[in-house]
């Protein structure tokens, strides 16, 4: 057994193949980190971020939440869509917007946590009472896109959905 004095100075012994592996591992992970950075900052892939706080109990006493739905900002170009998630439906459960327009979704809940995922798009986020979730999306293809609840919200969770109708 080596004495404590000498053992203080023991260097870390690493087998040469393993050293090469460690370098490669770090390199791979750095590449991943860089690609995530590029995706996030340069390609503009957005995640929901802090938007606004609301009180779920008084939410629907005043606009815009007293009348959720589509608001035209610039005809054919920009729309705001307000959706309230409730057990076990969305208000409104049909939304109509034109193809090619920039659509800003604002979604919140008046009861428990829900999800909001528009099928075949990049729109997918948590809906949390007290918070407004938001993402922007442009539908290029006309058609019907279901939005479904992706977080367990109670007995009727499986039937909770709505749809976006994208007109040409």
């Amino acid at each position: 057994m080596s004495s404590p004095e000498t053992s203080e100075k023991i260097p870390l012994h690493v087998d040469p193949t393993e050293r090469a592996w460690m370098r490669a591992a770090i390199a791979i992970l750095v590449v991943f980190a860089i690609s995530v950075t590029i995706a996030g900052f340069m390609l503009g892939i957005q995640l929901p971020t802090t938007e606004q706080r609301v009180n779920p109990q008084t939410l629907q006493d005043a606009p815009p939440w007293s009348e959720p739905g589509v608001r035209e900002i610039v005809a054919g170009e920009q729309y705001d869509v307000y959706v309230v998630a409730k057990r076990f439906f969305y208000e409104p459960n049909v939304v109509e917007v034109p193809a090619g327009a920039e659509v800003n979704f604002y979604v919140t809940s008046t009861d428990v946590q829900h999800g909001f995922k528009i099928q075949d798009t990049n729109v997918n986020f948590m809906v949390i009472p007290g918070q407004v979730s938001t993402l922007t999306f442009t539908f290029d293809e006309p058609g019907s896109y279901d939005y479904i609840c992706t977080e367990y919200c109670g007995l009727g969770h499986a039937v909770m959905f709505g749809s976006v109708t994208v007109t040409p």
């Binding site: 996030g40 948590m126 007290g130």
Partner: protein, 562 residues
Amino acid sequence: MLTDTTTTPVYELTKSDKRFIGWHIFFAVTALTIGSLFGPLQALQLAGVDWYPNIDFLFIEINGVNSYYQGLTLHGVLNALIWTTFFITGFSTLAVIRGLKRPLAIPMINRVGFWMMVAGLVVAAIPLLGNQASVLYTFYPPMEADSLFYIGLVLVVVGSWIEGLGFYITLYRWRKENPDTRTPFITLAVVINMVMWQIATIGIAVEVLALILPLSFGWVGGIDPQLSRTFFWFTGHPLVYFWLLPAYASWYGMLPKQAGGKLFSDSLARLAFWLFLLLSVPLGFHHQFVDPGVPSGWKYIHSILTFAVGFPSLLTLFTVVASLEYAARKRGGKGLFGWVRALPWGNGSVTAQLLAGILFLFGGIGGIANASYSLNLVLHNTAWVPGHFHLTVASAVTLSFFGISYWLVPHLTGKPLWKPKLAVASSWIYFSGMLIFSNAMHTVGLLGAPRRTPLGLAPYVPAEWNGHLFRVAIGGAIMWIGLMVFVAVVAVTAFQRKRLPEGEVVDVPIAESIQDPQLTPVWLDRWKPWLIATAVLIILAYGPQLIDQVMGIESTSPGFVP
């Protein structure tokens, strides 16, 4: 050579310690058996087949049976929380005693901790079985369960902390007796895991004690659901490492011995564990990528830190494969990859762990996709996610625990493994089912199928999902058969009359390292610098955002029963 027996074990545990560890395994396997019952039912329900009415008699009906979610809550709680925590504390107790070759310093502390966990399990089981806590194992507020559910969970967690305290005192005493010896790897590994767990569970402790219980007792009228999620995921992410590290400890510190070789690098094995201590906790926001109340800058930071924690896993991959190759070549294995065939595939314990490792490779690749900021947007809360974690917790961890059980139960009971060939078969069956199941879940998730949803009842399921959902059901059924074979093998082993021949025991497989552990640098055996670094990193990666969220608390959400 199906179970190695010896007449001269290196160190014998006392009868009462063996019985104590045995109780952990008993509760763990019982929980797994009940929890997994729902697995194939869920898989069938996804494919549109409702078998729940057939098991109605198992429930205590109070409010009528909400079977899918009640079952899913039991599945998550019993499998992911109870099977793991009980098995891990039992295995860690063994690794502490056998590694240090010394009894527990104050056995009473560990006994109290354990029976507190059992009490917690019983308390939580009451509302779970009565359908008063069908909130799933993440129990996101403001959905509310009966208070007993939370109290039970608190008892389980605090019980595990107390068992941990028993380990620390034992290690401390040992250190006083052996000032210049490196802590045996296997002991260091499980104690690091326990420390990481104690730091991690502070999040859930705050969530339950400060936010949920006051609401549940009616002391306050509302809760802040976003803040609760943040505290939950402070614990939720490192939780997966708490499950995984004991499997890693076995892969590094035991499997090489079972395969007939040695641990390739003692130093790097330790380094990997220290890095897990350092990096496991400050990543939680990567579970909250699509939460509205967390700024995207913080999400980005945690995404990058998530890649950092990939490093110790890649290190593990190398060291474990190198150790296995060393063993296989000693057994006459040849060729660049051909050596794999020379491993002892006839040993059920080894096979289970090798198959665990293979499934974990797939799981690791999928994990990188989850961690990516942008891909997560598509995958969040889809069936991809359970597809992923059945490869990790339900494969890498669960199969490794199968493997450990195949020597541990004979070791503890002094009885020979019942039908060793069936033990080998159990893992292969489970493995095959898992390949089908997880592949189908990943695919249907990519196509947009949500998780936590009985798709058989959902009105929006497109036809293109059906073929994959059918494969989910088939794979799930096969997994369940493999799992039941495991349960049968360990149960018969434990309860049979037959004993090992007088004087023979199944010893704990502890691998030697190729390099003398005394030549491992001292900084890889010192707690202080690593603990300080861990605390600093957590404060940097969580502190400012946590303070913001706590200061901005708005307890405006009243509770809802599911």
